[in-house]
Amino acid sequence: MAIEWNRRRFISAAATVVGAAAMAPALSACSGAPAQQTGANTESGLRAALPAYLPNTAIKPEIPGVAGGPDVLTDAGFLTYPANPIATVSGVPGRGGSYTAVTPLWGTVPSAGNSFYQAMNKALGVDLAVKPADGNNYNTIIPTMTAAKRLPDWIQLPAWWNPNFNLGGLAGTQLADLTPYLAGDKIKKYPNLAAIPTAAWRTGVWGDKLYGIPGFATGMPLAGIVYYRRDVLDAKGITADQVRSADDYMNLGKELTDAKRGVWAFDDVWTYLFPAWGVPFRWKVDNGKLVHKYETPEFLEALDWHYRLATAGYVHPDALAGDNANANPRFYAGKTLIQGGGAGNGAWNTADHESGTAATPGYRRGAFDIIAADGKSNPQLFLSNSTSILSYLNSNLKPEQIEELLAVANYLAAPYGSAEYTMVNFGVEGVHHTMVNGVPTATEDGKKNVEAKTYPFLASPPQVISNPGADVVTKDNAAWQAANAKAVYKPVFWNMNVALSQAMATAEAGQAVEDTIKDCYHGKKKVSDVQAAIAGWKSGGGDRLKQWMTDNVLQKYGTGQ
């Protein structure tokens, strides 16, 4: 009982926590109240702060990207790794400085000072101590660092935690302003950074100043799509283009579910399917007025459909019980045949293919096209922000130090297939990897020290699709992106960094409504219950949020289209 005590105490202590970036009066120097930064970026300010865009054309992919609407470009696909990686950076970027960098890592941490780190330091010309921290607990670790003002020289802060880390506030205080070094044509000094699409740079701009260095940028950022077991459905003669409406999905549910044999058609799909009803990401503009997604009738229709799906028994019971961790094993074992998953490389990758084939030989992941629920309107899916991976430099670095680190970032952002890219992602040939059939394959040393994603979190080139050893995945992914490139659109406030005050941020999160929504699509609550929750949300802060967004963002800064 004593041990549980301690753990409980920590957890309930966490529940009374005094905030992400607290400054207890007794122990830190509070020098005047910093101005609360709320608002967004102005058009002219953005234009001045954003870097120019100069795509890299040295290395040609087998499957070139396909343009969709404005600002939409599918990821390039590579079926082979370039045989002779060319160098894009001449000389050594660094000048011998000493720095520490912190990145999140979902996995085992390589030992400090290992051979890969040493080789990288030599190639970079700096003494860069990369110290990964546990990704699963990153959102507890970072607030303590910022509270004690102990940020390292270079830190990676995933954008999905911006509200938790209070990026808006940090930007003004602990993070370095990079506008003087990168805006407009100044970025030509760093050609690889200039090859990162402008839309991605937008996600690092706060208050008209540039702070973040983007990584893993993509021209077709989507939260997720609806996948299915292509091998199983092909065998039944069902193909993706036969599914064009919500009714088609429901029929699939009936046809594919066989509870007695332990097979259910669906896993959780709400998060990736609700856009099919035309529900916006969060806001919509109707006749110049802001409308929140909770207020749209399409939202309730989508909810009702999912409620019926769950109560009809077509959704796997473990999914209804909230077990997301085992969604993939269920999929691999064929216990579910349709699941929602991260788009692009998130779910469609070599590891997935290998796991799937180990469970069921002949496994093949497929994805349904973006649909419109009624089957007649134009299919639409909103884009997500161009990147969530941004790194920042510490504001107490001197200008020469910032320039040195930007040169290092330039090296790290070298395009796929270049010599630098090979070094960053695979290590030294012969030591950390060998070329097997033209594919860089990790050695034991490489597996321990290189496979953990450390440097790419600091800066990396735009994403490509490449799955050596599982080319079918590359082809499937690229084909899907190309087929659906025209069906995506930019939502209201796309890529805009809006710094909300605390009260507004809470209203935006709408936790109580989200919980009721989840209960509804798990079949436990009716749509009428959700409506009641929404009414409560509106009067409890939702309407005020809408007004605030209208006054402070929509009127002043537009919709970010």
């Binding site: 009374t16 207890a24 007695k260 473990d318 085992n326 809470t506 436990k524």
Partner: protein, 315 residues
């Protein structure tokens, strides 16, 4: 456990405080390290509690955050979700008190009657292991066994016996949760009682048996009184902690049964407090819980005194 006699003669305390101080100085010295540690690491950080009276904004810090007095509390007390979670907490606490609290005691007593030492040691060593599973693992195991697609239901389904959705039924949630707690914690809970049982002089049993007392009379008159002190201590602590029924266990199952049934005070503070950036709100809920818990433990202690027991501290 309660046979200690007050030290010395009962001299009037006021007049002799200097005397008592001198007499007890070694005792006070002994408490010093613990007290110093607690002051430094528990009392000094208490300054964080002021945020419950503010509209705390981490951007601005405690010193400059706006003071709102009791606003957070009035918001709290008009929030139906708060009352819902409080109700759940008390209900679950009550169920656990009735169903869970006696089990480690009963198990310890039962285990004590096992003759073979090897068997007893084996059972002891095995039965406490689930304590070390995380709640995530524990619930996953329960889901695998009792979930909609789990072993039990697959069996029922294949014999056309319908299904038993115990893992997602909010109506039986209290029983489910208590069963989980029993499975996970009862084994660990017997340890303290075993230590207490070991301290009972067995000659008393022999003497009682010789006098003609049967099995149950011996238990009633010797064993249970021997355990009384520890049981009372545990009971008082449990009552004082009526508002704490768990956190991780409920967080993990929130989605399965719906948040109406699964939200308890700690998950409420977490979800509608920090997780949404509503720090002051969460702090207010936490402060409320702390104050009530202190009242509860004081009350439980008085109750113990009324039963002639020491409880937490003597009068």
């Amino acid at each position: 456990m309660s046979t200690a006699v007050p030290r010395r003669a009962a001299a009037p305390s006021r007049r002799n405080w200097r005397f008592r101080l001198r007499r007890d100085r070694s005792l006070l010295l002994m408490t010093l390290p613990a007290v110093v540690l607690l002051i430094v690491f528990n009392y000094v950080p208490l300054s964080g509690l002021v945020t419950a009276f503010q509209e705390y904004d981490p951007l601005v810090g405690i010193r400059y955050s706006e003071w709102v007095g009791l606003d957070q509390f009035s918001r709290l007390f008009t929030d139906s979700l708060f009352w819902g979670s409080l109700k759940n907490t008390l209900y679950l606490s009550f169920v656990q008190l009735i169903l869970f609290f006696p089990i480690p005691i009963a198990l310890a007593l039962l285990l004590n009657t096992v003759l073979s030492e090897r068997l007893r040691n084996f059972i002891q060593s095995v039965v406490y292991l689930p304590h070390f599973f995380s709640w995530v693992l524990a619930v996953t195991i329960f889901q695998q066994m009792l979930g909609g697609a789990g072993a039990l239901n697959q069996f029922l389904r294949s014999h056309d016996l319908g299904t038993w959705d115990v893992m997602t039924d909010p109506g039986t949630f209290a029983l489910l949760v208590t069963s989980q707690a029993i499975w996970k914690e009862a084994g660990w809970g017997i340890i303290v009682f075993l230590a207490a049982l070991a301290a009972i002089n067995t000659e008393q049993y022999e003497a009682a048996a010789v006098d003609g007392a049967g099995r149950f009379r011996r238990m009633w008159h010797i064993t249970l009184p021997g355990l009384r002190g520890v049981i009372m201590l545990m009971l008082v602590l449990r009552l004082g902690n009526a508002l704490t029924v768990g956190f991780e266990q409920f967080l993990v199952q929130r989605d399965a049964v719906g948040h109406d049934a699964a939200d308890v005070l700690d998950t409420f503070s977490f979800y509608y407090g920090i997780a949404t950036g509503n720090y002051s709100y969460g702090a207010a809920a936490g402060l409320f819980k702390s104050v009530i818990s202190l009242l509860l433990i004081w009350g439980a202690n008085r109750l113990a005194h009324a039963f002639g027991e020491d409880g937490l501290y003597r009068k």
